[in-house]
């Protein structure tokens, strides 16, 4: 009996200590699709805007999966738009993505404004990633996500538990300040380096803070609903997306082989019909390759669009994109807070 009690007590203590040592909550914003180049260059750069838009929603979820492999973090969510009052906000931009290689610019900033990471991560897909029966098969570019997750964890471990606690307090009080600036002014101050600092803390049992936490929880209901839809998108589009990347990779590899063979061939006499015809056929080949890529992109779009549209239009009775819905939801919560006499 005594032993059983001791085991229960130690389990409870362990759980408590785990709760206490939990790292911050992580919010990953839908990525910037990287479409800020001249649209006339999309074709030659192999950028298909609709696919990039989809990747911008898909890749953060892949990143989330890797971060969550460590149990040390608080909830890790994918958001449709940036929440500046996040404990840790991760933003990213797709610099390059073609199935052969992926390049992302990723930045992580905590609620104090401290930059944890701001790095370019790139990865070339390994052959094993695309072997259908390979035992080692894992999601393409898994190493990139894991490298980022590792870097994030290392950055977090450099901070003490008190600093983590301070970030969590800052996030909540910045949220409170955005919701009820009159009541929560003065708790958080901005220093000369552009960092947020705690000036003072409200009482532990402050009823207004309790209401703020309630509103925050309601907001998370929306975020978790959206997050669930990203999960669906991730699961449903995953196989097609992997296929798209695999086709692109095969095409790029074939192109490289073709160009290698071309370089080794004996050249016919300059200006002869054979020389001109060969130059034309090479150009034609490149064009056919380019157009085949566009056809694959169309096939990918045809297959994924229904799921994608469903994702875009399914959350509650709000209108517009997920980003708009999220903003609208936050506005509604603020109105409710005011109606409840919070402000």
């Amino acid at each position: 009996m005594m032993v059983r009690l001791l085991v229960i007590c130690s389990l409870l203590l362990a759980m408590n200590s785990q709760a206490d040592t939990r790292l911050v909550d992580v919010n990953i914003v839908v990525f910037d699709p990287g479409l800020d180049v001249d649209p006339s260059q999309y074709r030659k750069l192999g950028i298909f805007p609709e696919i990039r838009e989809l990747e911008a929603r898909y890749l953060p979820f892949a990143l989330r999966e890797s971060i969550m492999q460590s149990d040390e973090w608080g909830p890790v969510r994918v958001l449709p738009a940036a929440d500046p009052e996040s404990e840790l906000l991760v933003t990213g931009k797709i610099l390059h993505s073609d199935g052969v290689s992926l390049e992302l610019q990723i930045r992580a900033v905590d609620a104090s404004g401290r930059e944890w990471l701001n790095k370019t991560y790139s990865e070339r897909a390994a052959d094993a990633d695309y072997q259908p029966n390979s035992i080692q098969k894992e999601r393409p570019f898994a190493e990139l996500y894991q490298r980022f997750a590792g870097d994030l964890l290392s950055a977090a471990r450099l901070l003490g538990q008190s600093e983590i606690r301070r970030i969590q307090d800052l996030a909540l009080l910045r949220y409170a300040q955005s919701l009820a600036p009159g009541a929560f002014n003065g708790y958080v101050v901005l220093d000369e380096f552009g960092r947020f600092n705690l000036a003072r803390l409200p009482a532990y049992d402050d009823p207004m803070l309790a209401r703020i936490e309630l509103v925050r929880e309601r907001e998370y209901v929306f975020v978790d609903t959206v997050d669930g839809q990203y999960a669906t998108l991730f699961q449903e589009l995953g196989p097609t997306y992997d296929l798209w990347r695999e086709f692109n990779r095969e095409q790029a590899l074939y192109q490289r082989l073709y160009e290698d063979r071309l370089a080794k061939r004996e050249k016919p006499k300059k200006g002869s019909y054979q020389a001109m015809k060969r130059a034309y056929l090479n150009f034609k080949w490149a064009k056919v390759q380019e157009q085949e890529s566009a056809r694959l992109a169309e096939g990918f779009r045809n297959e994924t669009q229904p799921t994608f549209l469903e994702l875009e239009g399914r959350v509650v009775e709000l209108n517009g994109s997920l980003e708009d819905q999220y903003r609208e939801w936050r506005d509604i919560l603020r109105s409710i807070y005011e109606l409840e006499g919070g402000a």
């Binding site: 001249d38 649209p39 006339s40 260059q41 074709r43 030659k44 750069l45 196989p239 097609t240 296929l243 798209w244 086709f247 300059k270 200006g271 002869s272 019909y273 020389a275 001109m276 015809k277 130059a279 034309y280 090479n282 150009f283 034609k284 080949w285 490149a286 064009k287 056919v288 157009q291 056809r295 694959l296 169309e298 096939g299 990918f300 045809n302 297959e303």
Partner: protein, 242 residues
Amino acid sequence: MNAIIRLSLPFLILAILSACRSDSVQPASGGATSVANSDADEERVDFSGNWEMDYGRSDNLNEKLNSIYKDLQRQAARRSGSSTEYSTRGGVTTTSNPEVSNAIAGIIPLAKLADFITTSQALEIEQSDYDILVEREDTFALSCAFVDDSPEVVTDNLGSEVCGWDAHQLVFVVDLPEGTRINHRFTLAPDGQRLHIATRVSRGGNRNFTLNRVYYRFEPLPPDFECEYTLSRGNVCSRASS
């Protein structure tokens, strides 16, 4: 990775397009449509539709070569003051004049290439205010984005492309490595029922050959099935709704 060069000198590109103007192309103005992002007074020709080659109106390679040959021969004869001497073997005219032989030897590869690249019997053209796609049977499609009214320039190591409007004509210029230039100039007949594509292949300053292809418009039968290409299942077809 292809190197992309966006030339910032539109006047240079326009100069290229103008330089590529085929003497045999006659202006046409039929089937014009307004374009939202173009100059207010400008109207762009709409080439949309299905087109099939009209062999009767298109150039015949041998006849065209013979005609050039005879011209060269006459010019050479005028210069030397002698009479014209040539014979015809297998439909191709030959001569013993070395000056003419050399000139024609330089033109024949260009002519053969022009013929080789213009064999598409059918074309399907989709055009919007912003771009055009010319699907050509048995070869790659020509496409052009009308961005800010400036010609689109795309370059890679296997060749470069310039496309754009030259008044009511649409021009595609392909520069291949080692100095070969291909120029397709699209002109629509005034009644909008015929499409003329003048393809000029050139090398260096004065060697060039233009082959004219004429297409007539046709209305394809409505398809029995509507197909949509998907990545994992290939073409997915369903019976077309009437």
